[in-house]
């Protein structure tokens, strides 16, 4: 069997060899163009190849060429090549270019507004980190403030430190006695020179930061610690653990001029509107009050303008909108996690966003319609929101514990955040300094312009 198959294969080989040889000889004789690399071209169909190269291609291309766009292109090509018989003319006077286009386009065409404001790069990491040892991890306090003099005040334990943002130098302003401390709140007066320091013993001290001198102590307004402070010209408003809110005229001897009663628990959020006509206060009783400056009176306890019960947890984070006078943003504690927006004239809740985390602090961007919130568990992040769409623009991570306090630099660009992880971080979240350079002098002038200074 084996031998048989072998022999048959050999016969095929020999047989097949014959014709090869024959052709080889034939070709040679016909002097065809052969070489040692391609010794034979018998398997090649030159006619077919020639046809494919010439005629066949035409046939293949035809269906493609019949597509209208190809057709049009060909037509156009022919016409542009045929320019000899055509004259292309245009008016010498060009149509007027669309002037003053951008302001219109922003409102009409979303694509152009994108061009007008190229997307800002938001650094995801903090620009600078400082140690903040012994910072009191207490949600109800307000231990960080950045004054118009570009000096940051932070209370660590019983000591108030000043950090000058212009040269990065640190100084200690005051250390209060242990029986009076710790410090429960700090707030710069609008002049950027005087600092109010709220204490655990219900007193409030006033300090002159330039001479490092204590000017006076405000006593008798509260019975418990003073966790929140807010300035309105020469009025220092203090909010205490006793639920009271007191307007102190720092110029006069009997400084308590008005008392707002409404909160039943600790007042932890306190902010005057930019115009100074309305005061927002938030408390541990989950209530947000709006008080009217004009209707405040010294003799009787003042009636609130609005009592807002929508939050389901302590209301600490409050921020008045810098570009819309009667718009207030408020954030709720860990049981609530919502940022709510209010029309403070009508008391209407305009929007509510569940952030998924305790809202510790809120800041508006002075230069853009954006809101920054700082949070606690689980991410301990800062979240930048586009207003009013409330689209998340950025999440800034870095803190490893809840971000209790935030303060904005006077030019509005940099945000300082202090967290329970005992760090103070600086974020370049509200735009690069050069982008805000033109806005900075305006922002800087604002706190001074309509303020009568303390002398």
């Amino acid at each position: 069997m084996d031998a048989g198959s072998l022999s048959s294969s050999s016969t095929i080989k020999t047989r097949s060899r014959y014709p090869l040889q024959e052709q080889f000889i034939q070709r040679k004789s016909s002097k065809e163009n052969l070489d040692r690399f391609i010794p034979n071209r018998s398997a090649m169909d030159f006619d077919y190849a020639h046809y494919m190269l010439t005629e066949g291609n035409k046939g293949k291309e035809n269906p493609v060429a019949s597509s209208p766009s190809r057709d049009a292109y060909r037509k156009q090509l022919a016409e542009s090549l045929n320019m000899n018989r055509t004259r292309i003319l245009a008016f010498k006077n060009k149509p007027p270019a669309p002037v003053d286009l951008m302001p219109h386009e922003i409102s009409t065409n979303p694509h152009d507004s994108k061009l007008a404001k190229p997307r800002r790069f938001i650094p995801q990491t903090s620009e600078r980190t400082l140690d903040a040892p012994d910072i009191v991890d207490d949600y109800y306090l307000n231990l960080l403030d950045w004054g118009s003099g570009n000096v940051l005040a932070i209370a660590l334990g019983s000591t108030v430190y000043l950090w000058d943002a212009s040269d990065g130098s640190t100084s200690e302003l005051v250390t209060v006695d242990d029986e009076n401390g710790p410090v429960t709140s700090v707030s710069w007066a609008p002049d950027g020179r005087h600092l109010a320091v709220g204490l655990n013993n219900s007193e409030v001290q006033l300090w002159d930061s330039t001479s490092n001198r204590q000017l006076r102590t405000l006593k008798g307004g509260h019975r418990q610690r003073v966790g929140s402070l807010a300035w309105n010209n020469h009025i220092l408003t203090t909010g205490g653990m006793d639920g009271r809110i007191v307007n102190n005229d720092v110029r006069i001897r009997s400084h308590v001029v008005e008392t707002y009663r409404g909160h039943e628990q600790e007042v932890c959020g306190l902010k005057w509107s930019a115009s100074g006509s309305q005061l927002a206060s938030g408390g541990n009783d989950n209530l947000l009050y709006i008080w009217d400056r004009a209707s405040a009176s010294s003799n009787a306890a003042t009636q609130w303008l609005h009592r807002l019960e929508d939050h389901t947890s302590a209301v600490k984070a409050l921020a008045w909108c810098p570009f819309q006078g009667n718009l207030l943003a408020s954030g709720g504690g860990s049981g609530d996690r919502c940022i709510k927006f209010w029309n403070t004239h009508t008391g209407a809740c305009l929007n509510s966003i569940d952030t998924g985390s305790q809202v510790c602090s809120l800041l508006w961007n002075k230069n853009e319609r954006e809101l920054l919130s700082s949070h606690g568990f689980t991410q301990n992040q800062l979240t930048l929101w586009k207003y009013p769409s409330m689209v998340k623009m950025a999440e800034l991570n870095g803190h490893t514990s809840r971000v209790l306090f935030m303060a904005q630099s006077p030019d509005g660009c940099t945000v300082a955040s202090a967290a329970a992880d005992e760090t103070l971080r600086f974020w370049n979240v509200f735009g690069a300094p050069e982008a805000a350079a033109k806005a900075a002098p305006k922002a800087r002038a604002e706190p001074f312009s309509n303020v009568s200074r303390i002398r």
């Binding site: 766009s69 542009s80 245009a90 061009l115």
Partner: protein, 207 residues
């Protein structure tokens, strides 16, 4: 009665030129509006071709288009106009972003011998309306013009046309490797207008 209807459907060279040049005026306005070359507020709505059409209120643009259609009408009557191209360019770089190409085929017999053709007004208007609708809907597929733009109009004429005082020779302002979309055409039986828009390829769209 019958004679009157017939008379109504007769179209002369002059009438055809008027229809075509008017069409260019409205088409140019519509393109400038829909492509956002000029701000939306500078346009007012009018009724034309059974459609709400937008006309510019900007005096400069208005007079430019008026001068244009007047000149085009003259060339159309002479049968010398081959093509009109509205070019949209970047204001900053001058790069050509879009070319709205209106090719015109003129019935030379009508021009040479002065005969007239028959086609009803209504039918022509319906054809023009279809083009206007396409121009308005073109924003759905044309790339966004996300920068300030300017426009210019090129007229392709026969070589023997004397260049009017206010006109000058121009380069064709072509787009390299363009995308093209052919729109409807209309025909007055004297002038046949083919509309085609070519635009810059979106680089990132390419496979």
């Amino acid at each position: 009665m019958a004679a009157r209807t017939v008379a109504k459907d007769i179209i002369t060279l002059r009438g055809s030129a008027a229809i075509v040049s008017e069409f260019f005026g409205y088409a140019a306005n519509s393109i400038l509006y829909n492509r956002g070359v000029y701000p939306e507020e500078s346009f007012v709505k009018v009724k034309k071709y059974g459609l709400p059409m937008l006309l510019t209120e900007d005096e400069g643009v208005k007079s430019f288009i008026a001068n244009l259609t007047a000149q085009l009408s003259e060339w159309l009557e002479a049968g010398k106009l081959q093509r009109v191209v509205l070019v949209i360019m970047s204001k900053a770089t001058g790069e050509v972003l879009e070319r709205w190409n209106f090719s015109i085929e003129t019935d030379s017999e009508v021009v040479d011998k002065g005969v007239s053709r028959e086609k009803s007004d209504k039918e022509i208007m319906r054809e023009i309306q279809a083009i206007m609708r396409q121009i308005a809907s073109s924003i759905t597929y044309l790339p966004c013009l996300d920068e300030p733009c300017v426009f210019d109009v090129l007229a392709y004429t026969d070589k023997d046309v004397a260049v009017p005082f206010t006109w000058t020779e121009s380069d064709p302002k072509l787009i390299a490797n363009p995308q093209m979309v052919k729109l409807h055409s209309f025909d007055t039986k004297i002038h046949k207008v083919d509309t085609l828009v070519s635009y810059k390829n979106d680089e990132w769209d390419e496979p």
